[in-house]
Amino acid sequence: MRHLMNPLDFSAAELDELFDLAKSISEDPEKYSRVCKGKILATCFYEPSTRTRLSFESAMLRLGGEVLGFSEASSSSAAKGESVSDTIRVISCYADICAMRHPKEGAPMVAASRSGIPVINAGDGGHQHPTQTLTDLMTIRTLRGSLNNFTIGLCGDLKFGRTVHSLIEALMRYTGIRFIFISPPELKIPDYITDELNAKGIEYEEVIRLEDSIGDLDILYMTRVQRERFFNEEDYVRLKDFYVLTNEKLQLAKENMMVLHPLPRVNEISVEVDDDPRAVYFKQAQYGVYVRMALIMTLLGLEVQNA
């Protein structure tokens, strides 16, 4: 039985198949609308994450399946002290596949080791969030036509942002990719990632100001810079505007650059940018549903002929 714990669990060739399927679903959703009839997805969310949970539920409902689950630990038996191992054994009797979000890192892996059904890691603490990475890759692949040969700028909190770390690790498997890390020194990319890039001979650059590099980028991946990450207020006030994308900064960018963001956005992208065709973050949320639909079908071993 196959699970998804980490975006690297799937080989590049397997990801290509998954993205082809997601693309096919996006082109003709009706064709896939009954493929999961009679199947149940359990969304076991031990911490609230409305967006991810609804994306999974939407994916299953659009495949003709049904959903059940809980959206916070207090409304589950975890509040009574039940272990993850016990919960998943029980859930395995109720559902055909499970998406699990848990504040403890590695919890979905423990669940997978005891589960009778496929388990998808829907985010475990600050560790992994593989379906966000699949969504990011799917968006780039669909809108650029390929996952090779581009310059990507990752901007904002590169120290604590798990979506950024997972995306970089996933992109290291493709060729001709150049990374530009745009962050304040306090939030720079961790050494273990730059060590890995150095070891693999992958080109990267670290800069502080977005304006200094935006003109070189094919893709700009924005993340939020949070006030609480700074040691003092003065540094935060000095640096925060460097990482806010405005129409003025966007004028320096290429005509075909794409702006991605894992969402939710707070103020790091001005709302005026939303109308620019280069802003693709809402399309990204749509691709997130298609890629989760493809993932559910793949892990359940379903093909459209079964519909």
Binding site: S83, V84, S85, H102, P103, K104, E105, G106, A107, M109, V110, D124, G125, G126, H127
Partner: protein
């Protein structure tokens, strides 16, 4: 110089870093069986200045070399049979270690899930880095605890 009698069958673990012998004694589970054990601490050594030595009289098939290799792969393991050294074992870093060290990451599932084994996987052989199988946090020993 302190003299300890020779053993008939078992192991002599030599070149243990001074002060580590009690930890090895514990992790090999020697406190839980009735084997005869001699622990020599702070013995003089030309190579190391000071070293510890452990002599264990036991069945030679019972020693967990993986645990030993994790603790210190520079330890010399002499296998003794009929009072003679018959073999010297080379220690290699184990790919995986189970229930020897504990994950200190408070966000790791091992901090709350009962009965879950603490498993560490060798992530970087050159720098001897182990990472928790569940949360992938690098193992960093806390002062005075673990090994």
């Amino acid at each position: 110089m302190l003299n300890i009698g020779q053993i008939e069958e078992g192991f002599v673990l030599d070149h243990i870093q001074a002060g580590k012998s009690m930890s090895i004694y514990k992790h090999l589970g020697l406190d839980k069986n009735e084997d005869t054990v001699a622990i020599i601490k702070n013995a003089r050594s030309n190579k190391m200045g000071r070293k510890d030595i452990l002599k264990v009289e036991c069945d030679i098939n019972t020693l967990d070399l993986d645990v030993l290799a994790y603790i210190d792969h520079n330890i010399t393991v002499n296998v003794v049979k009929d009072g003679e050294i018959v073999d010297k074992k080379e220690l290699v870093l184990p790919k995986e270690i189970k229930n020897v060290i504990k994950c200190h990451n408070p966000r790791c599932i091992t901090s709350i899930e009962q009965g879950l084994p603490h498993i560490f996987v060798l992530a970087d052989e050159k720098n001897e880095v182990y990472r928790c199988k569940y949360c992938e946090e690098k193992y960093a020993p806390k002062d005075g605890s673990d090994i």
